[in-house]
């Protein structure tokens, strides 16, 4: 990659995306079809996702546990919509320990069925509720057109699964967890995603309702970044997840499940990066600042290294993760390398800077370069990082708002999506037929029925039947 140029974003968005992943050393295709290798720098991002989300889950009372990778095929068939949705994507173990298995085992595509079979024995009475469980795991969904992070046969994710004594409580939990995802995307990834409800045809196989956060990428396409499902009693009935209520009556539990995956790294990459490489919001970046000493000869080397270590020490004391690039190679290629990796701030320290009692700080977002005084440099760097974080979110919001438009005429709708992608707020009659026809003709889907969308009477963009509020249409990853 060192000598390969990154494809321009405007020339070929897909090629640009893959070039960024290669240039920043985030991941690569594995020798197994459809799978990926997450490289150390990409995995460090995932570790940061995990650290933040895990703490947020635990704050809501959720506990982690671990359930088996393998699911007996018979389990999957217990919920009719669920098996219909997942069966075509399953990888199946038929032989093990040198023998053919009596019952084939499915490598989990998601864990509702195996978990709820177990939950049915964990729960006796209302005192055992709510049951709030999360699992960090790998799952497998056979993928014919893989794309790093966005669609891979195996991916990493977390899946939360809860059981409640009432419908209202489960409904509230599913929305609470969606809000955890939304605020995580906003506060850490600097992505302002739109929360809403999926249409019937786009919801999770087996759910009553699916809630989603939809992020807009820089090509105007949508990326579903996290989902939370209200499962109602759809699974508790076949899996007998029952409890005795306070009056001693047996009741079926009300359930939710919710997850985000390594796909969200794909969203992060596409949300902010540019033609020079990855751009990372400081709050999720594996490295906050890289210090690059610039020197000629041993004497200078010693002086700039000492200063670099001093500054790194101060920054680390303030909780920042700092890399000092001491390699004895030309500074230019080093600058490019760290730029490609999206490190938010680069700090250059050379003999001139020493003489001026200052260091040179270069922002990854704007490329702006400024000399800052040695004294108080650490606080200044923190200010700059905060400013980068806020700036990225601001741009993200502005971009989404600029590219969200209302359309009321079907020809305008078709024409727009021939040329570009946007969040189109349009009326829809609520029928699966219109939804399917729109998708067939334009490849555009309903991304969500956004929460809090104002009520207004209008006509379905396709059939003209009455509609009470607009939904978001877009092409999607």
């Amino acid at each position: 990659m060192k000598n390969k140029e990154i494809t321009k974003r405007k020339d070929d968005y897909s090629a640009w995306y893959l070039d960024i992943i290669e240039a920043a050393e985030l991941a690569e295709h594995a020798p197994v079809k459809g799978c990926m290798v997450i490289k150390p720098y990409g995995y460090a991002l995932w570790e940061n996702f995990q650290k933040v989300l895990d703490a947020k889950f635990k704050e809501t009372g959720v506990k982690n546990a671990y359930f088996p990778l393998f699911i007996p095929q018979s389990f999957l068939t217990k919920e009719a919509e669920h098996v219909e949705g997942f069966a075509p994507e399953c990888a199946v173990v038929t032989h093990a320990g040198g023998k053919k298995l009596e019952e084939p085992l499915v490598v989990r595509p998601t864990s509702e069925t195996i978990m709820y079979d177990v939950f049915s024995r964990w729960i006796q009475s209302y005192r055992d509720l709510p049951l709030l469980i999360n699992q960090w795991a790998n799952v497998v969904r056979w993928e014919l057109r893989p794309r790093l992070f966005l669609r891979t046969t195996e991916f990493l994710w977390q899946e939360g699964h809860t059981v409640h004594a009432s419908e209202e409580e489960a409904e509230a939990k599913s929305k609470e967890m969606l809000e955890v995802y939304r605020t995580f995307a906003q506060d850490y990834l600097a992505i302002s995603a739109v929360p809403g409800k999926k249409s019937e045809s786009e919801k999770f196989a087996g759910a009553v309702s699916t809630y989603t956060i939809e992020a807009m990428m820089q090509d105007g396409k949508a990326l579903q970044s996290g989902t939370s499902h209200m499962l109602g009693q759809n699974f508790s009935k076949p899996f007998e997840v029952k409890f005795l209520d306070e009056k001693g009556n047996s009741q079926y539990g009300w359930q939710t499940s919710w997850g985000v995956s390594t796909r969200m790294i794909g969203a992060l990459i596409m949300a902010h990066s540019d033609d020079k490489g990855l751009v990372l919001p400081p709050k999720i970046a594996p490295i906050h600042a890289v210090i690059i000493p610039v020197w000629v000869g041993e004497e200078e080397e010693k002086l700039v290294f000492t200063k670099a270590e001093e500054l790194a020490g101060e920054l680390r004391k303030k909780g920042l993760i700092i890399e000092i690039d001491k390699r004895d190679t030309r500074p230019g290629p080093k600058f490019f390398e760290w730029e490609k990796k999206g490190v938010p701030v680069r700090i250059e320290i050379g003999p001139k800077d020493l003489a001026n009692k200052s260091v040179m700080v270069v922002r990854r977002d704007s490329g702006a370069k400024q000399a800052i005084k040695e004294k108080g440099a650490a606080d200044e760097v923190i200010k700059i990082l905060d400013d980068i974080q806020a700036g990225l979110l601001k741009s993200n919001i502005e971009f989404r708002e600029k590219n969200t438009v209302e359309i009321d005429i079907w020809d305008d709708f078709k024409k727009l999506f021939k040329e570009e992608n946007k969040f189109i707020l349009a009326h829809w009659c609520g029928s699966a037929e219109c939804e399917a026809k729109i998708k067939e003709e334009t490849k555009v889907t309903i991304r969500c029925l956004p929460f809090g969308q104002k009520q207004e009477s209008g006509k379905c963009i396709l059939c003209g039947k009455p509609s009470g509020s607009r939904v978001i249409f877009d092409k999607a990853y």
Copy 2:
């Protein structure tokens, strides 16, 4: 479990072990044969293992990454000993996405082959070395006689894999990582395990040497608790893990791999627990202390709860994880419940304690009960926790030392293992034949050739041929 008694340790060690797991709610058999469900309290232990070990690995320069779950069958066959060792235990995916696969995929039993295929492309020159990678993952080895934590078809582990430019450096790394495991077991799990080298027949399939730490359980049996393998060039040759040295010559890399798994939780359970339930060293316990308010009537409730919250707050400020058991049920069953879970310290707060301006502290290790003054209680609790940690390690060392004996006569050896299990230091000629015969006749294996074992001339316990130092024999989990 609430009403089930724990089998006495001396009556049936195996049943006792499983009862402890059930009573402490650590894990249970999954509906999939050979697999387990790790329950929240058991998983919290694993999270603590991960937190400590991950930080230790990173201190040595290791970085985390993630490689695919599936390995093409052809990869596994590239190293002859490796495939011979693992093929009988493999689970194989033959169908996926509704079709039969052209090449079956093995669910990883360990990741040498898939990783090294990738490493061969990551490494060009000596500048890319050492490559130090770790992965936290699930692996599958088909298990016919599963036992929770100790032997399960699927288990969680970490596997470190490194590549070096020289044999010496790889050798040193494999020993360094063993030492990380040994000190982790000692300093956190309060288990003093013996480090040493495996015999040829007990080493990892494909390794040049396997290093191990062997812990002694309370029934005198050994439990291999962590291993580190010097792989030499056994894998780098078939997988072409090559680098250009400083002179521009192409060389094969020198490799190591090392891992610990959820099996180590089994070791932890068996090392310290008693007939009342689990006993946990404070430094690895998910909960350091449980506060149990004792009250009658609303007025008392308010007072003891306030005091409980106050003390919990102080203890949490000092970094401890505290649970307050506010359930409105009788205190007795609560005491038993937390005892079963091995929480190191129980703090009772009742109206009498309030009047005396003290709290009652009960140690899980000895059962000793003492009133401590309210003022300075937090510091006192920390002292008690430190004392428990030190005491558990001391007992563990004493027990192992007491049960480590030298034997020089074959009849004595056989007789001893008919009645009990110990670490037997005996001479061995070094031949695989003698080793196999001893195993056949007594089920006893060579646990390790302990590091630093003194040189002394002796005679093989079985054949009488000369031997230069003693090795450790024992039955093992």
